[in-house]
């Protein structure tokens, strides 16, 4: 299954960068969202995929039984998802503000005003 997920992650990265290379600022936002998903899935996939064995310790045990999914990448991704949302909100508002100030949503036109 990891091989299939590798293709999914590749597609997400490709789509996100393609969107971020567009000149329309709205597409930049969409690219950011895709990028965040792509990065999280990348970490998730390379740490190995396990079916039906969440990193939870059953009642009355000291350790999970049998195989279990690696908890550490999950912890990292969990915060990454939340931070990703915070950063996305910040970026969206920043872009919106830039649009208001410059009155232009073509990124190529924005460069002349940043001095």
């Amino acid at each position: 299954m990891e091989a299939i997920m590798a293709l999914v992650v590749g597609a997400l990265f490709g789509a996100s960068v393609y969107m971020m290379l567009r000149r329309s600022i709205v597409k930049l936002v969409i690219g950011l969202i895709l990028l965040s998903n792509a990065a999280n899935l990348l970490i998730f996939t390379v740490s190995g995929l396990t079916r039906g064995a969440p990193p939870l310790i059953p009642e009355g045990m000291q350790m999970p039984d049998g195989a279990w999914a690696d908890p550490l990448p999950q912890a990292l991704i969990l915060t990454a998802i939340v931070i990703g949302f915070g950063v996305l909100a910040f970026a969206v508002v920043l872009i919106h503000r830039a649009y208001e100030v410059v009155g232009e949503d073509d990124l190529d036109q924005m460069r002349s005003t940043d001095t």
């Binding site: 299954m1 990891e2 091989a3 299939i4 997920m5 590798a6 293709l7 992650v9 590749g10 597609a11 997400l12 990265f13 789509a15 996100s16 960068v17 393609y18 971020m20 290379l21 000149r23 329309s24 709205v26 930049l28 936002v29 969409i30 969202i33 895709l34 998903n37 899935l41 990348l42 998730f44 390379v46 190995g48 079916r51 039906g52 969440p54 990193p55 939870l56 310790i57 059953p58 045990m61 350790m63 999970p64 279990w68 550490l72 912890a75 998802i81 939340v82 931070i83 949302f85 915070g86 996305l88 508002v93 920043l94 503000r97 649009y99 208001e100 949503d105 073509d106 924005m110 002349s112």
Partner: protein, 766 residues
């Protein structure tokens, strides 16, 4: 000992406050510290004479083999005594020279920092610690040269000094690290005791070149000498202390210090011998062309630094004895001369020697001290400078291989220096009294104490050579030479070749002095020296650097987001693929290809969603497909044993939709801005990243390089942290500090959004 070294830094913190509290008396008060340090260091003399070296240990970063160990042997003691001794006079002198100056408190602060750094440099027994102090002296020197920071010229000179010495410092660091690795220790005492380990290593040449790059820039050797005369933009006490007696000798110190470990080879001999001799000659020649009293002294300092380098390079018994004697002699007379030059400048208002004259009657003590110090500079008996010069000639005559070359340059330099010593001591004080910007009168006692004491020492040491020989010069020679030597210093060496050369030098000097104005006239017309000197090289390279920076800013940071992104993406792709194909041999681990229908369906959903989102021309379509991607990813988390991630992703996805609804619809619709060609190009860049990432995952799939720490975390989770949800335990217990940092990021994002929106509201309000 540690307190003694670092006391300068401590006092530096309080010096500004003390200066304000005590006003004009502060100079005398603050001088108590260097004076007591001098006494403290002097108390080491008996121990060092007997044992050769004392090592005092203080650990700092033991994990990296970095310590604050102090090595007190003859060499470091000689330097420590010079720094604290001359420092005492400089501090009192500065009180008079900069009396009432607006920035005097700041001056004392930097000056004490410098002194502490310099002491740390010469006393450190650890290569890394030594380097840290080395750089601290460069930085404090920068601040002191640029002390008159409102003067553009001063700032320029300060920057030049900093760039030259710090560039060398970088090379030095590389050299020191290589020494540490080669010798297996960063402790100087162990490195130097290692014998031929360094000399026999294949890295030896690289080490020598790198270390010398640091030493030559710091000690103003040709062709890096140009920064030193410019450093005279500093107030005179600084010039006297840093740029003649102490800091510029740091390079000399390091060469002398490493001589037992690195010296004794042909490379060392020729490099140091020839560069040193050329520096000596250049310094003397440029001194002859100069008319500013500080410039003359700056160039004679270059001469002295060249002489020391040359002597260390020659490395014979006679040369090392000469080097240490010359070092002491030079420090004594040059500090005195600088302080006297400052006094003349301070009282008359001009530095131009051609505009000075007849000051003898008005400044008798200055005149007398100048005569004594200048005689030592010129190398006349019975001054200490004479002994040093005799020893120098003896060493150059005995130099292996390059004796004729260095002796000739030494003789020529000695003539020119003798002439300039005479110019300095005689011209401003004799003849008619000339009109000067200020009405001259004798300098205050605070400014005369130093020169008088130091000049007297030049005389006393000359007459009674056994005092310096027995106290420190002897043990310093032992430290540099590597084994004990008998050192006796006396004036009369008998009729021999060195004496003949001395006489020749004096005669030549007198001739040059008498015809100085003609000489000056001839030389000052040789403007090509200024046009083609190494300083032009410095300026050209600085211009080149500015041009390069401008060019790369224009090219890389041109304001197009797409350029930044393309460069970043392509760099990542090229480096990763290079490593993947060339270094790793293109591994592909497909692993188990088992999947269920619904897993494949979810994966397909995400891919289709991503592709549709990037080609659709409707915003609503894009947001909807984005939601599809997001929930698809959440499903993947749930399917593969990450329930926490699944829930989080679903919640965030919901909030993202709310966010997009609130903001995105106030932005304009999609525009078709790019040409088809641009789209193909961007698709290629984006595609290359996608392929790279896929290959990356396939390369590492199932590969375990080191045992994951999560096994340990899992084992601890319930017994230690009382939690069954290991993910949560990691977040709030094992990695709580990390999570705290992330909370601050989330908080900042929230506050940032709030601020941006509020800012706009206020703009509108106005």
């Amino acid at each position: 000992m540690l307190i003694a070294v670092l006391s300068g830094f401590i006092l530096a913190a309080f010096a500004p406050w003390l200066t304000r509290a005590f006003g004009d008396k502060a100079g005398w008060l603050l001088a108590i510290l260097p004076a007591s340090l001098f006494v403290y260091f002097a108390s080491f003399i008996p121990a060092v004479s007997e044992q050769g070296a004392v090592v005092l240990e203080y650990s700092w970063i033991p994990g990296l083999d970095i310590s604050l160990n102090m090595l007190v042997d003859g060499l470091s003691l000689l330097f420590a005594l010079l720094i604290s001794g001359i420092g005492t006079f400089i501090i009192t002198y500065a009180g008079g020279y900069l009396r009432g100056h607006e920035y005097l408190p700041r001056f004392y602060g930097i000056m004490f920092s410098f002194m502490a750094a310099m002491l740390g440099l010469v006393l450190s027994n650890n290569l890394i610690t030594l380097f840290v102090f080395w750089e601290l002296t460069s930085i404090t020197s920068f601040l002191l040269i640029g002390f008159n920071h409102e003067d553009k010229q001063a700032r320029w000179c300060a920057l030049q000094g900093l760039l030259v010495t710090v560039a060398g410092g970088l090379a030095l660091l590389a050299g020191l690290v290589m020494i540490g690795i080669t010798a297996g220790s960063f402790e100087l005492s162990e490195v130097l005791a290692g014998g031929d380990v360094l000399r026999d290593n294949p890295l030896y040449t690289a080490i020598v070149l790198l270390v010398l790059a640091g030493c030559f820039t710091k000690s103003a050797q040709v062709p890096f000498h140009f920064w030193l005369p410019n450093a005279m933009a500093a107030p005179t006490p600084v010039s006297a202390f840093l740029h003649s007696a102490t800091m510029v000798k740091a390079g000399v110190y390091l060469m002398a210090r490493l001589n037992p470990g690195l010296g004794g080879t042909d490379l060392w001999l020729y490099l140091l011998g020839i560069v040193g001799a050329l520096t000596m000659f250049t310094g003397s020649f440029m001194a002859l062309r100069s008319t500013g009293i500080k410039a003359i002294l700056a160039y004679t300092t270059i001469m002295a630094l060249g002489t020391l380098t040359m002597l260390i390079g020659i490395g014979t018994e006679a040369a090392i004895i000469a080097a240490m004697t010359f070092l002491l002699a030079h420090a004594l007379y040059k500090a005195a001369l600088f302080m006297l030059a400052g006094a003349v400048d301070h009282e008359t208002g001009t530095k131009n020697i051609l505009k000075l004259g007849g000051l003898r009657g008005l400044m008798p003590i200055t005149f007398l001290a100048a005569c004594v110090a200048a005689l030592s500079l010129a190398g006349l008996p019975p001054l200490f400078g004479f002994i040093a010069k005799e020893l120098m000639f003896e060493a150059t005559i005995g130099a292996p291989g390059i004796a004729f070359f260095v002796s000739l340059l030494a003789l020529a330099s000695a003539m020119m220096i003798a002439a300039m010593a005479a110019v300095f001591a005689i011209r401003p004080f004799t003849g008619e009294l000339k009109e000067t910007p200020k009405t001259p009168h004798e300098a205050p006692p605070s400014m005369l104490a130093g020169p008088v004491v130091l000049a007297s020492l030049s005389l006393i040491f000359g007459l009674l050579g056994f005092i310096p020989a027995g106290a420190v010069v002897g043990s310093a020679v032992q430290a540099v030479y590597g084994s004990p030597l008998e050192v006796e210093l006396y004036l009369w060496h008998g009729f021999n070749l060195p004496l003949l050369l001395s006489v020749l030098a004096i005669v030549g000097g007198v001739v040059l002095f008498l015809r100085w104005e003609q000489v000056l006239d001839t030389f000052s017309r040789m403007t090509f020296i200024d046009r083609f000197g190494p300083e032009r090289g410095y300026e050209k390279s600085m211009d080149g650097l500015t041009w390069l920076a401008a060019w790369q800013t224009r090219t890389l940071q041109n304001g197009y987001l797409r350029t930044y992104l393309s460069v970043t993406v392509l760099t990542t792709v090229v480096l990763t693929l290079w490593a993947y194909f060339v270094r790793a041999g293109a591994p592909v681990h497909i692993g188990d290809l088992d999947f269920t229908f619904y897993e494949l369906a979810v994966a397909g959903l995400v891919v289709v969603g991503a592709i549709v989102a990037s080609v659709t021309s409707s915003r609503l379509g894009a947001v909807a497909t984005l939601g599809m991607v997001g929930f698809g990813v959440a499903l993947i988390y749930v399917l593969f044993s990450a329930p926490d991630l699944g829930i989080t992703q679903i919640m965030v996805e919901t909030l993202t939709v709310i966010l997009l609804v609130l903001v995105l619809y106030r932005l304009p619709g999609f525009l078709k801005l790019s040409s088809p060609a641009a789209r193909v190009r961007d698709a290629a860049i984006a595609g290359s990243l996608g392929v790279t990432m896929t290959l990356l995952i396939l390369a590492v799939n199932g590969v375990t390089v080191v045992e994951p720490i999560s096994d340990q975390l899992t084992a601890w989770s319930y017994p230690e942290a009382h939690g069954r949800n290991i993910v949560n335990v990691i977040l709030v217990d094992f990695r709580a500090l990390d999570t705290l940092g992330e909370l601050f990021v989330v908080g900042l994002a929230g506050i940032g959004v709030y601020a941006m929106i509020r800012l706009r509201a206020e703009d509108k309000g106005q």
